[in-house]
């Protein structure tokens, strides 16, 4: 009888662990898909100057480091997007790593801006950190680094 109880307990534990593992994997897959979608939404919002959409993507305490090493607050970044003539923002590659309620997105972007009437193309590596808060993901940090090699 004791042997039967032990076996049943082991099976129950195994079931719980497998369920948790699948649940976590599924949660991580969901998180990856969601964050990737938000990254694409970000690109589109910049090109179309959808300030409301951009405002919703970023935490109010956002730390933003631009390609020239300048540090921008959320308000400063939004003001830059509003005033800049951004022609195109393409993500050449992107990967997402999920750490529970934190997601780190890294990849390569290519942005075309019109400056003094001429197109300027910038290609760089980016790292964005997203945090899951309440019921949504918000970006809390973003950095761009020009690719020189």
């Amino acid at each position: 009888m004791r042997a039967v109880i032990k076996i049943l307990a082991s099976v129950a534990l195994l079931f719980v662990l497998v369920t948790l593992a699948f649940s976590q994997a599924s949660d991580e897959s969901s998180a990856r898909a969601r964050v990737l979608a938000l990254e694409h939404a970000w690109n589109q919002a910049e090109v179309f100057k959808d300030m409301k959409a951009l405002d919703a993507l970023f935490d109010n305490a956002l730390v933003y480091v631009d390609y020239d090493g300048s540090l921008l607050t959320k308000a400063e970044f939004l003001a830059h997007v509003k005033s800049a003539h951004i022609d195109q923002v393409i993500t050449e590659s992107m990967t997402v790593e999920v750490f529970n309620n934190t997601a780190v997105v890294s990849g390569i972007y290519r942005a075309t801006e019109i400056e003094h009437g001429k197109p300027v193309v910038r290609r760089g590596r980016f790292v964005d950190t997203w945090v899951f808060r309440g019921s949504t993901w918000v970006c809390v940090a973003a950095q761009a680094t020009p690719i020189l090699h």
């Binding site: 730390v63 390609y67 090493g69 300048s70 529970n100 790292v127």
Partner: protein
């Protein structure tokens, strides 16, 4: 009822104060880890670096290249054999930490010196390090550096 409301208020205030103290404690911890990183890099202490960097860390160098943790540690070890080639990091000019529950964002400016094509250089870099509280400890899961051009 008259006693309960102030008690609830007191408990709420205590909770807020506790969170603030927790945030301050966390900030101090992250600052200490950043200093440890700086010291370990200078000393070529790959063992110390191994403990504070997550195995899946996203590491972007100031030229836009990426390294895995293993590649980064190997480069630190190699530079100990060739000190002249090592990029030296001077202490951070500035360091700020933002806490988002179990995520900490450390940002600052670092002055680095090195030799490139036989010529010495000094430049400033702005970095963002992302730390996550995992398994009872804080580990860095992402680091990126951008040369300050302005």
């Amino acid at each position: 009822m008259k006693v309960i409301a102030p008690l609830v208020l007191l408990l709420s205030l205590s909770s807020v104060a506790s969170v603030a103290q927790d945030d301050n404690t966390t900030k101090s911890k992250i600052v200490a880890l950043e200093q440890l990183w700086n010291q370990a890099y200078k000393a070529g202490d790959t063992k110390a670096l191994d403990t504070i960097l997550d195995n899946g860390i996203v590491l972007v160098n100031d030229d836009g290249s990426v390294q895995t943790k293993a590649e980064f540690l190997a480069s630190v070890k190699e530079s100990q054999n060739e000190p002249a080639s090592q990029q030296q990091q001077v202490a951070p000019e500035s360091l700020n930490v933002h806490i988002f529950n179990t995520t900490a964002i450390a940002t600052g400016v670092l002055k680095v010196k090195g030799i490139e094509n036989g010529k010495p250089y000094t430049r400033r870099e702005r970095f963002i390090d992302t730390w996550v509280y995992k398994g009872g400890t804080w580990v860095c899961v992402a680091t990126d550096a951008t040369p300050v051009l302005h």
